[in-house]
């Protein structure tokens, strides 16, 4: 070996070793000492109560309490493009939950996605948002979780393919995408707006569903709130690209997030049903703050003020060219959606439905096939599912008809495949997702027939 080659080889070796050391230094996180599970009585009750509200805003139970399972005991399969990740047990069980986690360990998990033992957590746990949560709020959340019923339930093994099954890969992801300063108070805005921004960008992690993700599963900063995917549903664009026929206002958003429906927009369902169910029980001021902030994000896009002028002409052509769809609509849909009964007992005016003007037909397919279940213990919107009455051709005829008649958007492509998928995935979704069940904070709203 000539001297120069040796020198080059030497340099390469040094660089490689340095890189490995650097990678190790970045990747390595020490374990935080295990503690004896704290006595639930040692937590201040006011703090626990605040933690409860924060956990509802964070929608923690959606992932950590699958249908039929014990509260916060984990085990929900979360399908990702990289494989299936299972939510973990966040009850204070010392062996299988977070019973031996100190508050510092909990805060580190929230802020940088590392568990007590020092392992990196997959970003299905949305620490890219939770990193914005204040120490104070983390303390309240910790107090709330540590005072829950401990449940013995070991985490299920994630099913990921190489290289995603290597936790080291998460370090790379964090280097690229974990930003610690996505929320900063804006002194030019009101305190309410700032409170909303803090919640939306942090604990409420709205972008986790409503912002599209890149190939590595990170939210695309350039497309904030432009609409994303969740559980085979489309999370609508809630920025200025919203397809809502009537623009959202802070008041409408507040009512919708609080009650689960709004006469100008329709009913929350799918994964959003759980979100509004949780939000119905937290302080109204926080929901209002979220509404104020989000209304400013979505801006006052003109939208389309109701069905456009030539709706009638289109309706006539639509029914001539699609008589099957029109007949189904008349018998199955019109009795509620044109019955003149107000929401929540009557159906939304379909000209106002975002599901029908959305570029993505999945939500409409899901709801037509599976309907909207009544919420236990309250009088809430309800719609029967039509999966047993229609085959895929008939369902696509109906969806095509609705699209032509109630939106000014072009026909959807590949509708039959969407419907076939919806048939398959909704069965699974309905079996695993937690049922929305909280009573609304203001029952008056739903009591009025």
């Amino acid at each position: 070996m000539r001297a120069s080659t040796r020198i080059i080889a030497g340099i390469v070796a040094v660089v490689l070793i340095a890189a490995a050391v650097a990678a190790f230094a970045i990747a390595w996180r020490p374990a935080i000492a295990a503690i004896d599970p704290p006595d639930p009585q040692s937590f201040d009750t006011a703090l626990v109560k605040r933690g409860r509200d924060l956990a509802a805003i964070g929608n923690c139970s959606d992932c950590h309490t699958p249908r039929g399972a014990k509260n916060f005991a984990g085990g929900l399969p979360v399908p990702t493009p990289f494989g299936t990740i299972f939510s973990t047990n966040i009850t204070p069980d010392p062996e299988t939950g977070i019973g031996r986690w100190s508050e510092a360990a909990f805060r580190r998990a929230m802020r940088s996605g590392v568990n007590r033992e020092g392992q990196h957590l997959y970003p299905t746990f949305p620490y890219d948002h939770f990193t914005n949560v204040s120490d104070e709020d983390d303390r309240a959340l910790y107090a709330f979780l540590m005072t829950r019923q401990p449940v013995r339930a070991a985490a299920r093994e994630n099913q990921l393919s190489f290289p995603f099954n290597q936790r080291l890969a998460i370090t790379g992801w964090k280097l690229l995408f974990l930003r610690h300063d996505t929320y900063r108070p804006d002194p030019k805005q009101s305190a309410e707006w700032n409170r909303g921004a803090y919640l939306v960008e942090g604990l409420a992690h709205c972008g986790a569903c409503h912002t599209p993700r890149n190939a590595l599963g990170a939210e695309r900063v350039s497309a904030r709130f432009a609409g994303g995917d969740v559980d085979d549903w489309h999370a609508y664009a809630i920025n200025d690209q919203s397809r809502s026929p009537v623009p959202w206002t802070a008041d409408a958003l507040f009512a919708y997030l609080r009650e689960g429906w709004h006469p100008d927009h329709g009913t929350a369902r799918g994964p959003m049903a759980k979100v509004v169910s949780n939000l119905s029980s937290v302080p109204a001021s926080d929901v209002r703050a979220i509404a104020v902030y989000m209304a400013s994000v979505s801006g006052t896009t003109p939208g389309r003020a109701g069905p456009s002028e030539d709706a009638l002409t289109r309706a006539r052509t639509a029914s001539q060219t699609n008589s099957v769809g029109a007949s189904i609509y008349t018998a199955a849909c019109a009795s509620c959606h044109e019955g003149g009964r107000p929401l929540p007992y009557g159906g939304v005016d379909l000209g106002l439905s975002t599901a029908i003007s959305s570029p993505d037909p999945r939500n409409l397919a899901n709801v037509v096939l599976s309907g909207i279940d009544a919420v236990e213990g309250e009088r809430s919107p309800i719609m029967p599912g039509f999966a047993a009455s229609m085959n895929d051709d008939q369902a696509s005829a109906l969806l095509n008809y609705l699209r032509a008649r109630f939106s000014d958007q072009p026909a959807w492509a590949d509708l039959k495949k969407t419907i076939a998928d919806a048939r398959r995935t909704q069965t699974v979704f309905l079996q695993t997702s937690p049922a929305p069940r909280n009573a609304p904070a203001d029952p008056q709203q739903r009591e009025k027939p």
Binding site: S323, V324, S327, I328, A331, M383, P384, F386, S389, Q394
Partner: protein, 165 residues
């Protein structure tokens, strides 16, 4: 005119494509077991079986019934020879006013055809779309379990009557 197959017989009916099946059953064919409760798909009293699946006939347009086999409660059994599901509901005295019962029986029948030993949980989940204003839910539950047992024994006998299969 279109052909509608109900309880194994073909009927020529004069109905529009968008007429709900319930109207045709009750008004034209005089099959009155399926009840009109809400007409909005929200109470379940109009439930019948179409090709093995329970559907709400008040929101089921005729256009969707081309080539399909409709079964109503009348098709399951007779007064002289009630089907297992009917016997079970009688034996458990599950009906109070009885308005919801035909719908309940039809969905329970469809359930038992695909799952011969449903759990309590499964029966409750399945019958969730059905309202009973009289509150006989516990008896209805017992009746469905009883029907499952009856069908089990009936299956062992030759030529069981009243199957909607």
């Amino acid at each position: 005119m279109m052909t509608l197959k109900v309880n194994g017989r073909e009927h020529q009916v004069d109905a529009e494509a968008d007429t709900p099946l319930l109207y045709v059953l009750r008004d034209d064919l005089k099959l009155n077991a399926a009840k009109y409760g809400c007409g909005l798909g929200q109470c379940g009293s109009c439930t019948v079986i179409v090709d093995g699946k329970a559907v709400l006939s008040c929101v089921m347009p005729m256009v969707l019934l081309e080539g399909k086999q409709v079964t109503t409660l009348e098709g399951l059994g007779t007064i002289a020879e009630p089907a297992p599901i009917q016997r079970a509901f009688m034996e458990e005295q599950a009906a109070q006013c009885g308005y919801c019962i035909p719908g309940m029986m039809m969905r329970a029948q469809a359930l038992l055809q695909k799952n011969s030993k449903p759990t309590d949980e499964q029966i409750r989940a399945e019958l969730e779309p059905h309202l009973c204003r009289c509150g006989t839910h516990m008896r209805i539950l017992r009746a469905v379990h009883r029907a499952a047992r009856l069908m089990d024994t009936a299956d062992a006998l030759p030529a069981a009557n009243g199957s909607a299969r």
